[in-house]
Assembly symmetry: none
Homo-oligomer: 161 residues x 2
């Protein structure tokens, strides 16, 4: 409630945190309350699509896709042909999801299957976007990321010593 008020005044629209919510028999999942606050504030909608690179669902506000589309329109050189292809894939796959009065969305079979999600959906904030993972896949992914950071930033390793 406090959050909502502050979001009303400011412009901070970051998807944060990691939340695990249950997927019930009907396929319903609660969108984390913080995420809902963002959607309401921006008067936009949630859009989800299969991640192109990982076994997870990716989501963002429709606003962001709008921005992406505009960027592509306006600059021919900024986006490579490959990226253009990727964009087509995303737009083709993306679907709009609105939540009911209790804050739940209903993910499709296609998405759930791509992410190996059966009974629990893990929402992972990514700033302007977020991802939805199965518990097992996310555990593996997080481990991979933390390992990678250690290797790529020896200076950090040094500091922690």
């Amino acid at each position: 409630m406090c959050t909502r008020k502050i979001l009303t005044m400011r412009k901070s629209f970051l998807f944060l945190d990691t939340v695990a919510n249950k997927v019930d028999a009907k396929g319903r999942v609660s969108l984390p309350a913080d995420y809902r606050a963002i959607v309401k504030e921006l008067s936009t909608e949630i859009v989800c699509y299969r991640s192109l690179t990982a076994p997870c669902i990716e989501g963002c506000t429709e606003d962001l896709l709008e921005k992406l589309a505009t960027d592509i329109e306006n600059s021919t050189d900024f986006f490579s042909e490959t990226q253009d292809d990727l964009t087509n894939l995303i737009f083709g796959d993306a679907k709009r999801f609105s939540f009911d009065s209790t804050g739940r969305i209903m993910l499709t079979e296609k998405l759930l299957k791509h992410a190996d999600i059966t009974d629990t959906a893990v929402f992972v904030g990514k700033g302007r976007k977020f991802q939805i993972w199965s518990e097992a896949n996310w555990a593996a992914e997080e481990a991979r990321l933390r390992e990678k950071i250690k290797l790529n930033r020896p200076s950090l390793k040094e500091e922690s010593k």
Copy 2:
């Protein structure tokens, strides 16, 4: 109180000092008054996440993360793999914390555990960020830091002698 006035007039928004506050059974801790003044002044919120390099919690204003999100957006392309990994780690772990009318935030189990905090949280200012340590871990860390400085800057050793 004097602090607040100065903050109002100047643009000095540094987290300073070291303050030890109690963590109650529910995980509530008073955010140091000076820190709260900064948050209010900037009309932002506090965001905390597990330090990547040390057994402590790290915190900053949401503004700072906003800036980071924008920088990442602009510096790399929409589909960059590095961007993907980085954003997952940072934003996925970060959580927004708003304090109640008495100035307390409620830290999560995950964060407290990472920092070995049970009953006392030590807030350590770091300028734009701050850290939260357990008493024991902070004592060790401070000793380590002071020792390191001595070795790296013999001139200081000379003076203190």
